[in-house]
């Protein structure tokens, strides 16, 4: 075939994409721009980033620097056209460099091991010579047994120079690196499918309310195809501290008005229905509704009779069988006392909800005080009855991350293959052994040559074992 001096354009582009240099350039571009992206806070308020940029460009230069970075897309850089182009170039590089090398590797994988000339066996990276007193025919049996002992099944061929036994294992492990490359492409493909056919939305759902849609960025509504209701939201704390232990939302899925699924979700345990997943992401209190919630009480008399009672601020209740009457006159979402003992509200969220109740007992006795949801010791009333503050319902909302990602399974499969590919690439190797058996005066000379394309030292130990298994009469090779 005639070799043309001029490569075609396709060849040139192919060559470029297959080159390691190109990979390094793409790696560096992704890495360097990513570093900028970790310093500039993504999708943040302009003021925040101007403050960050002021550290690098000074107070006067920061606004100008901000507008330049903003125009270049650095404020949401991981979704900018150029960053996605880098990722696609990375994928193209991965595909082409793999395709470029795979035919050669495939040949090694497919081609079965063949006998070699004794000279060639002696030139392998691992070599050993063993001399036995036995006749060649017997030595061959011993050698076959030795092969079996280290887990290899030898083939056999004979020539006038002697008999040769040879075996190989793990030829497919040479493909490990391509399995790894392929898995990265699968992950990228899964991510693209997720972006193209899925959505990422948010929903702030107040207790007791139902929604049939969520909001994507820019307040775009996305229909769920069913309805979701928040029955209750609650923050649990560690002991008496304000350190949150769990954020929990009781959700109900409704289809055409009928309940089809119920689940209490927490962070790390979302609810999935019809391919759409609801994640516990944030929470808050609707300040405008703060006075309009429902106070849920459990009233327990001295002899243990209890009754659940719901009312609102300003409402009254009676402890069953006692005649003690209470009226709720005040509410605080987070109550504590200052140094002088005066109560005050320290948080807008329901961190430590408390109600103020004025009691009047038969006989004209009056007393009043704060009852805390989180502190049962405040529930006890004089005379042994109790007013348990169960919940203040209807003023909190749960912040749900709502996501549909049809590419997720593909990403997971890709991750699994990646792990497998890495294992094959780093912890397994293609191992080959040749054993040349020839007659020597008074015995048999066995020449062992072996190679492993990775972890040679470990394989060398195995070859030592093989040589030892051949029996005594071993003379040290090198």
């Amino acid at each position: 075939m005639e070799k043309t001096k001029h490569k075609t354009l396709t060849d040139k582009i192919w060559g470029l994409f297959a080159s390691v240099k190109f990979a390094v350039v793409i790696f560096s571009l992704i890495a360097l721009t990513s570093i900028v992206g970790t310093v500039i806070e993504q999708n943040a308020e302009p003021a925040k980033n101007i403050k960050i940029l002021a550290k690098f460009f000074g107070q006067s230069g920061a606004p100008a620097a901000y507008s330049v970075f903003d125009k270049l897309g650095f404020m949401d850089m991981y979704h900018s056209w150029w960053f996605i182009t880098f990722l696609l170039l990375f994928a193209a590089n991965l595909i082409i460099c793999s395709l470029d090398r795979i035919p050669r590797i495939w040949k090694i994988v497919r081609e079965p091991i063949r006998p070699l000339s004794p000279d060639h066996v002696g030139r392998m990276s691992i070599k050993k010579t063993v001399t036995l007193k036995a006749k060649p025919a017997h030595a061959k049996d011993l050698a076959t047994k030795a092969f079996r002992k280290i887990g290899f099944r030898p083939s056999e061929s004979s020539s006038e120079q002697g008999v040769q036994l040879y075996a190989e294992k793990g030829n497919f492990t040479r493909l490990g690196v391509y399995i790894t490359h392929c898995s990265i492409l699968i992950i990228l493909a899964g991510a693209i499918i997720g972006v193209a056919f899925g959505f990422n939305a948010f929903l702030a759902l107040p207790e007791g309310q139902t929604s049939s849609f969520a909001y994507q960025t820019g307040n775009r509504r996305v229909l769920l195809g069913f309805e979701v209701r928040c029955d209750k939201f609650e923050v649990k704390f560690y002991g008496d501290t304000d350190m949150p232990r769990s954020y929990k939302s009781w959700l109900t899925i409704l289809k055409n008005g009928t309940e089809v699924e119920k689940k209490a979700i927490v962070v790390n345990d979302p609810l999935t229905y019809n391919g759409i997943t609801f994640y516990q992401s944030s929470f808050g209190t609707m300040q405008e509704n703060l006075g309009r919630g429902i106070v849920m009480l459990r009233l327990v008399s001295k002899d243990g009779k209890s009754e659940d009672f719901n009312t609102r601020l300003g409402g009254s209740f009676t402890i069953p069988g006692t005649g003690i009457e209470g009226r709720i006159t005040d509410f605080s979402p987070a109550l504590t006392v200052d140094q002088s003992g005066k109560p005050f509200t320290y948080d807008q969220n329901m961190v430590n909800p408390a109600i103020f109740v004025e009691f009047s007992a038969p006989g004209g006795k009056h007393y009043s005080g704060w009852i805390f949801k989180r502190f049962p010791q405040t529930w006890n009333l004089p005379g042994g009855s109790k007013a348990e503050f169960v919940d203040y319902w209807g003023v909190q909302y749960t912040g749900l991350q709502v996501r549909k990602d049809p590419g997720q399974t593909i990403v997971y499969i890709g991750c699994f293959i990646l792990a497998f590919g890495l294992f094959v690439s780093f912890f397994m190797s293609h191992r080959r052994i040749w054993m040349h058996i020839s007659e020597e005066k008074g015995g048999t000379r066995i020449l062992i040559g072996a190679s492993a394309h990775r972890n040679r030292a470990a394989f060398e130990k195995k070859i030592d074992k093989l040589a030892k298994a051949l029996g005594s009469g071993q003379k040290g090779g090198s």
Binding site: S34, I35, G37, V267, P270, F426
Partner: protein, 360 residues
């Protein structure tokens, strides 16, 4: 006895081991070497006991074996990092029958533990915030730190390789290692000064790292001190560059060939890389998907892990595909660990993001 007693014992043991290893290098007496190894093992066992005790103490709070892994704040993660470092070192010592590294690794371990003590980092057991309450915690964090410590040792062997292999003072590799080593020492020294300045000002302990980093030196309010600090750093770097040959002589006295250093560097990365990929990136992504509803959100920690991953992927490719050996790849190994340190500490201390657990 509680966990902190045993942590104390291990800190002392690592310092004693350091003295023993250095004496061993000086006198080459076998008994001293054996003693050094035994002291290190004592420290390691004591630290293991401490970790188990801490786990038990945490279990009393968390009531879940998998989630009570003592790896949820900076204090615990540094301790686990040191533990992995010593374990990996002991394996290398036995495998290569060479004690020379001990003089390098034990001071790092001792200093790290002492730094934890001095900095006044919170040692209290902190209950898990909701986002961390997952069984992924154990696998993700533990594997990440195991790989970090492997990368850590590959950094030191890579640096030693460069020290041994460079000849001329104007050679890029020589300039690279002298500058790198200088920065390493300068940062440590500056942090030490911060500690003393911080003791003087008596500010709150938690904010130490976040607000006081380099305040005593490079970020000082007084312009003069700031200038002097930079000047001292430059002079120090120059001195290391000028007298780097001494380091070379010291390491040459270790009886460890450059080839073995290169091999250890490669082996550690070849084991650390898959562990990092699986535990750090894959498990991290799976967990993020469960907790945050996104398996990849370009959070600074994720991005820096990816950069680290790229660097080590580059190391492996340049070595396996291009057949690079020696100085070039050693430089990549050293740079890779700088990225690891930034992923581990820098992101938490300097940038904000979802992964802010490690900074308390």
């Amino acid at each position: 006895m509680d966990s902190s007693t045993f942590f104390g014992i291990s800190t002392i043991a690592y310092f004693l081991a350091m003295v023993a290893y250095i004496t061993y290098l000086g006198f080459k007496k076998k008994q001293i070497g054996v003693a050094a190894t035994l002291i290190t093992i004592t420290g390691f066992v004591s630290q293991t006991i401490a970790l188990v005790l801490r786990w038990k103490e945490f279990y009393a709070v968390e009531q879940s074996f998998l989630r009570a892994v003592p790896l949820t704040n900076l204090y615990e993660s540094l301790i686990f990092f040191v533990w992995c470092l010593i374990l990996a070192y002991l394996v290398i010592e036995f495998k290569y029958s060479n004690r020379s590294f001990g003089a390098f690794i034990t001071p790092v371990a001792g200093l790290a533990l002492a730094f934890i003590d001095l900095s006044g980092m919170s040692k209290n057991i902190q209950p898990l915030v909701p986002a961390l309450q997952s069984n992924w915690l154990l696998a993700h964090v533990m594997m990440s730190f195991i790989s970090y410590s492997m990368f850590g040792i590959s950094f030191s062997t890579g640096l030693m390789y460069l020290i041994v292999r460079t000849e001329k003072k104007n050679e890029p590799a020589y300039i690279f290692w002298t500058v790198m080593l200088s920065i390493f020492i300068i940062v440590l020294a500056a942090m030490g000064l911060d500690y003393f300045a911080f003791k003087v000002t008596g500010q709150s302990q938690q904010e130490f790292i976040k607000s006081y980093l380099f305040r005593a030196t490079f970020r000082n309010s007084s312009g003069a001190i700031e200038t002097i600090s930079w000047g001292a750093a430059v002079v120090f770097t120059f001195l290391v560059w000028r007298y780097g040959g001494i380091m070379k002589k010291v390491i040459k006295g270790f009886n460890i060939s450059a080839e073995i250093l290169d091999e250890i560097t490669y082996k550690l990365i070849a084991i650390g890389f898959p562990i990092f990929t699986l535990g750090g990136l894959i498990f991290g992504a799976l967990w993020a998907n469960q907790a945050w509803g996104k398996y990849w959100s370009w959070d600074p920690k994720e991005t820096w892990s990816l950069i680290t991953w790229f660097l080590y992927a580059f190391y492996l490719h340049s070595r396996l595909m291009r057949g690079w050996r020696g100085k070039k790849v050693a430089i990549v190994a050293v740079v890779g660990f700088v990225a690891v340190v930034f992923t581990y500490l820098g992101v938490n201390l300097l940038l904000s993001g979802l992964h802010s657990y490690g900074s308390q």
